[in-house]
Amino acid sequence: MSSVRVLVGTRKGAFILTSDGKRQKWEVAGPHFGGWEIYHLKGSPVNPDRIYASQSSSWFGQQIQRSDDGGKTWKPVGNKFVYDGNAGTHQWYDGTPHPWEFKRVWHLEPSLNDSEAVYAGAEDAAMFRSSDGGQSWEELSGLRQHGTGPRWQPGAGGMCLHTILIDPTNQDRMFIAISAAGAFRTEDAGKTWQPINQGLKSEFLPNPTADVGHCVHRIALHHSQPDVLFMQKHWDVMRSDDAGESWREVSGNLPSDFGFVIDVHAHEPQTVFVVPIKSDSEHYPPDGKLRVYRSRTGGNEWEALTRGLPQQDCYVNVLRDAMAVDSLDSCGIYFGTTGGQVYASPDGGESWSAIVRDLPPVYAVEVQTLQ
């Protein structure tokens, strides 16, 4: 029988939530790495018992942990992230040049066909690759050095590479996103990159339609349509039908088009989920109502999903890596909040319940569907 394993990264450790395919009763294991910040965990699609975790601390730096038994036991692997060559500078908040400094890994993306290979998205923004299960890391410096890097600048959370999407039909093609630089694409497994931000508009920029500088919060794709990308930008929900060559806004009737997460239904490529947040200075849902919005039309037309979610006095946030979907027949949707709740819907968003309510602030949620 199928089962589900939800990997939760929080400000004070990692938790693993498991259930059978009904997704009604859950077991909570953790905290793993108690006291450490866990920005992300993700399992290998090739070997689901292999899970990578990004463990960090402002005091003691970055660790990468690896489990080979589905998260029961862990061992630290390589934590040496060194920029290739002269790291150079990017823009600081005030526009002055600021040296590139490694701070942490925001996102780990295991290869789709090799459990030893995994990508890491870092702050200050850069992409690293390991081909030995996380023991050693090499920067894919073509991204940082392709020419626009000196114009990148940090978003409020830092200058982070937070999204890595691998095209399942052509693994040499990848999409990444950086706050606040924008989205980028490679066609050659990370050697060369190009910005893909045409159509984005960011009013905080001197040139709102500049080729880089946009605060992209998250992008998502459906495996059956890898040329179709959905984006939650700082403000605006966007869509591309040509692998990022151009973008158009699909915010439609959302109560706010600010937000962090965006994800796509496992079986319906035009069904998209977002969680609107009031504004860039008010990081909580509009009207104190926690609502997931679903579009079945690939954007523009959105419906509020509220059953089981708090509809008054709710002032949590849902951070950019904190939503995921499972691939069971009735697609499950999951998200975590800064209030420590992890909500799950086993029916495509129709109804919700909290798997767990009182974790530390949730940074990341990933789901593994196990056979």
Partner: protein, 103 residues
Amino acid sequence: MIRVILPPHLRTLAGVERMVELEVRAPVTARTILDALETKYPMLRGTTRDHVTEQRRPLVRFFACGEDISQDSPDVELPEAIASGIEPFFIIGAIAGGSGIWN
């Protein structure tokens, strides 16, 4: 044997108790202590000092015999009480909340 007191985060990372003991060849300095620590516990590499430059991480402090030696050269020879193991060498996370280091 040199005795080193670790902060809680590094104890859990290395899977050790509050204090570890290390063989350190003379001269006993902050650098030679950290070298020995990282050799015995490789997972601690990068946690107290940069991998490449070996600069102390900004929110880490070192104490020897009650003195804050964080700003000293890592090659300054430490007091005999540290070298003989009478006094421990402290690695401390800059205070931000209860550290538990004295427990």
